[in-house]
């Protein structure tokens, strides 16, 4: 995997479009699309049952399900889940605050842009996951490194999108605000910030994707709690079933946050023509 995580998640999403209409109109899912995933799952199960796929390389799907139930029942899963969620939340809060603040400063003022944009653009070219060795030297292998890593992953996409969102607000609307006698604070509140919101939400989605990626990498380096710990600990005991459970949890968390942002988009961008 390339560590330049910016490349991983900058999907070519042009805008935060509300869920395309054809999606909601198509009520009946195409059942044919389930054939190959189920076949693959069955093949995996068969390979495991016949011994073609040894359990110390990859456990069978059924074993994974049972392991999931087991760690859920012991409370291990819930603990790990909460620790990881806490790390992402803390890192996200810090990264979002910094990214949005710098984006607003650079977006609103020419001086702000001249001062803020060059260093941010330079730092952005660094693959931030590659900074882990430095972070370990600076912050040790405790919580700080993981949180800073997440914060960094969050800050850049938010900065870029808030900045360009503000810069691309329709000048005609800003001028209409002036003609209506708006003060500059009113122009900011009624015109500029709402105008920058769609692009900001695109940034939010990218940054949340990177937040999980940063967390996974951070927890793999070292962790004494959290989903990453669950996985690494299971690896020590060749419990590939628990490893897969951990991966599924990561995937579910990523999907859940993405769904949350989509919901937010649909509510906040209601005004867009359907």
């Amino acid at each position: 995997m390339s560590l330049s995580a910016t490349g991983v998640l900058t999907r070519p999403e042009t805008t935060a479009e509300p869920a395309p209409p054809h999606r909601s109109r198509r009520k009946l899912p195409d059942l044919r699309r389930w054939i190959s995933p189920i076949a693959l799952l069955a093949a995996w199960q068969v390979a495991s049952s016949t011994g073609a796929l040894p359990a110390d390389k990859l456990s069978s799907p059924w074993t994974v399900v049972r392991a999931g139930v087991e760690v859920a029942r012991t409370g291990e899963l819930a603990d790990a889940f909460l620790v990881s969620l806490g790390r992402v939340a803390a890192g996200f809060a810090i990264g979002a605050a910094v990214g949005v603040l710098l984006g607003v400063v650079a977006g609103l003022s020419r001086w702000g842009e001249a001062l803020v944009d060059p260093p941010v653009q330079m730092l952005r070219t660094l693959p931030f996951l590659g900074l882990i060795p430095l972070f370990i030297l600076w912050f040790g292998i405790g919580e700080e490194t993981k949180i800073v890593l997440v914060a960094l992953g969050v800050a850049f996409p938010l900065y870029l999108n808030v900045h360009s969102g503000i810069r691309t607000v329709d000048d005609q609307l800003v001028e209409a605000g002036r003609a209506l006698g708006f003060t500059s604070a009113e122009r900011l509140w009624h015109v500029v910030l709402p105008g920058a919101l769609p692009q900001t939400l695109v940034g939010l989605r990218q940054s949340l994707g990177l937040a999980w990626l940063a967390l996974i990498v951070g927890e793999t380096v070292n962790a004494d709690a959290g989903v990453g710990y669950l996985i690494n600990n299971a690896r020590e005991f060749l419990r590939t079933d628990v490893v897969v459970v951990g991966l599924v949890v990561y995937a579910a968390l990523g999907l859940a946050t993405d769904a949350l942002v989509r919901l937010l988009e649909r509510r906040a961008l209601r005004w867009r023509a359907r």
């Binding site: 001028e175 209409a176 002036r178 003609a179 209506l180 009624h190 005004w271 023509a273």
Partner: protein, 243 residues
Amino acid sequence: MASPVNAPVVAVAGLTKRFGSRTVLDGLELTIGRGEFVALLGRSGSGKSTLLRVLAGLDADTEGRADVHGTVSVAFQQPRLLPWRVVWRNVVLGLRRGTSSQARNRELAERALDEVQLAEHADDWPLTLSGGEAQRVSLARALVREPDLLLLDEPFGALDALTRIAMHRLVEDLWRRHRPAVLLVTHDVDEALLLADRILVLDEGAILSEHVLGHPRPRKPTDHIDVRAKVLGDLGVTESAVA
């Protein structure tokens, strides 16, 4: 701003505006009385939009005098509604906040929307409106401020012909009811002949000619057919091209 009743709303003298080395307005003189409907015609680049922007307070950095006594509202060629505010909130955007309650604002907006026959769209999003509807909301937004001067910058330019005819009637009707002074910037001679008390032809940043229209309203397109030829002549359209 208190001002005597019969003082002019607009008093412009020696107004000059330069963009770099280009002089767009060149010592322009203009007076508009209270409640007067003035149409400003001119070829592209004659400076008519610049004059309107100066009067709207959107273009500073001018020489000379450009005094406007009273409140000003503008309706642009594009409606310029804020897409993230429902229609009625767009209408009251220009009212000073804090001076009136939410309920009062809503009431004012509904009354203004009723005047442009859009009361049922009060809670709609602007992007769901047609071009003509959005332009009518823009008019309501301008008029709800009870302006002494209403600046119209080619507000019908982007509309289809049928909608434009309906809009002419509406503007005339609203003008008669509210009696703001109006400065209508347009390049449509017939529109000016239909609506205005006075037509000014602008050329190279100064008033080239003035035509007073005395025909009672509502007018037919054939009224002032004599003025039409003169105005077209001032605009540099030859007789053969008119015929």
